[in-house]
Symmetry: D2
Subunit: 192 residues, 4 copies
Amino acid sequence: MAKLYFNYSTMNAGKSTVLLQASHNYRERGMDTYLMTAALDGRAGVGKIASRIGISADADTFVAGDNVFVMIEARLSQGKVACVFVDEAQFLTEEQVWQLARAVDDLKVPVLAYGLRVDFQGRLFPGSAALLALADEMREVRTICKCGRKATMVIRQDENGNTITEGAQVQIGGNETYVSLCRKHWREAVGP
Amino acid sequence: MAKLYFNYSTMNAGKSTVLLQASHNYRERGMDTYLMTAALDGRAGVGKIASRIGISADADTFVAGDNVFVMIEARLSQGKVACVFVDEAQFLTEEQVWQLARAVDDLKVPVLAYGLRVDFQGRLFPGSAALLALADEMREVRTICKCGRKATMVIRQDENGNTITEGAQVQIGGNETYVSLCRKHWREAVGP
Amino acid sequence: MAKLYFNYSTMNAGKSTVLLQASHNYRERGMDTYLMTAALDGRAGVGKIASRIGISADADTFVAGDNVFVMIEARLSQGKVACVFVDEAQFLTEEQVWQLARAVDDLKVPVLAYGLRVDFQGRLFPGSAALLALADEMREVRTICKCGRKATMVIRQDENGNTITEGAQVQIGGNETYVSLCRKHWREAVGP
Amino acid sequence: MAKLYFNYSTMNAGKSTVLLQASHNYRERGMDTYLMTAALDGRAGVGKIASRIGISADADTFVAGDNVFVMIEARLSQGKVACVFVDEAQFLTEEQVWQLARAVDDLKVPVLAYGLRVDFQGRLFPGSAALLALADEMREVRTICKCGRKATMVIRQDENGNTITEGAQVQIGGNETYVSLCRKHWREAVGP
């Protein structure tokens, strides 16, 4: 039986590497995979899933209005797909996560979604909230805080390294950087 | 280092049994535990955590306004506690989950929270959303659908066995029953 | 697809409670389960799976020479079984674990085996070695050391509380007791 | 507290990729890591951990007689190490796995070991048996069978694609290839 998987983590844990390796495992066996990722600039089309350690692959992109069930169904009509991979899954809407669940149940194709759990304010992204509610299996992609403990939170910093505690959940085209921390160090950085 | 754990599941999976067994393991070793559960009738005080297979234990109860950090701190001031257990954790507020996180980080006591992931409409409970965002470790307490697959969803039925698809997230004092199902059978029961 | 699960732990973690709760979940849904456990006195027949927190259920017992595939097949011929549970699985032989794997693959019934990982000398039990090699899914039933860390090892003590470091892997009818510890405290107890 | 982790899988699942990504996560944060791998040609020295998707890193190599505790201690004396990574951990001896456990407990450095669970005959490798006995945490690096199910077994094939069912556990310098399969397809390939 196909399942909906959610592989969650904080920033810079290597989610895309894990995704690309898993897709590679299928393709090496002669099985096709379908890769999807969020179009951050608001325009769907062909995008790229890239990993910080230097590997990448092409992917279809989705925006908020897209019906990802229809995208998957269309792709399956062109040829057998063994697995669907979705990167940047935190940017899915709740409706799109239900569409992924329907793809799993009705089209009988496994879907592996990879995404951030919480934003820089410690709040769930919409796609992550829906995946944490509906995923059949959840797995953590781990990374470490500066202290060596597991990092589960992330701070946003401006160009001078100051922690930013307010603003939109997604910032596009700015000079912000993100640093993953354990909750204790996140609380120290963000303040009381 | 102490951690915040979230043991999630659907209805009737045996969460309370797992909680009571884990607390028993501590007590058998001469270590004390502190048990908390939601006061469903709106009155805090002494409650009970009971399992369908016939075991139970007393627990302090919390209501929405309570500061659970203060409750834990007060309990710790009376004597060493090796672990805090929270049942019905889906009924915590987001603020209370942050209080549990602070208890873990600042009072250095592990907190094991047990709760339902989603309600009968497939939506996260407030406490579960916050715990899925903030827990250091998440583990599933599994149970099965009538078809033998893992159940992850739950339906609410009236006294005649009809599926109810609308209403308040928590229903107190009614004749409703709950049945745990896999997503496929949940979708069939709930309708399109 | 049916799977072979190995739920491993050290002594007194509550394995039997978890087994009995899981079996209860099936039976509550009107699905039958088949319970097996090791006959420690060398005589197969009807035995009992009992938990330290006061619950129990009848079980068929197996000894080293039994073909557990044939036992399961015979039970299935008497009526549908949704799941097979095996307690004290550390006492299975390697051949019996292969028989369980065949039951999963050929009879298409899920098998959940529960057992100890290592003996008091830190060595795998034969059944555990085979299950750790062949299980489709492995899950840990956790308990704690006297220090609060997770216990993964166990010591054998004589009636005066002295640690015993030599002897047979299984001791029947003696006055020994077992204490679960983390590896650090186990090494301190067992000596260099 | 430092822990001993065992990340197990079958062939070609991408273990080395996961290892290299995890090491990268540390180094990106300015923390040093120590990489070790088995010297398959029997000569210790400088080796390489390489992934099929095109990334690699230098590593110290160990042979059967080496004291890996002493190797780690020597490396730590040259500068702080946040984490030790061991690839091809199935080739460790039982004694070397105890040395890793001592490094974790006494030198307080986390050790992440990556290795194969079973050989082409379905038997545990010595290093894997010891790690499955002693690891504090075990995680599976998953890959898939030709049928899409999870692969947990591996067959050895000669240059003509015929399944080899006998021979040494490790074959060096031959023309054999390895194919990962689920247990059902492994049993079909290997025969009754």
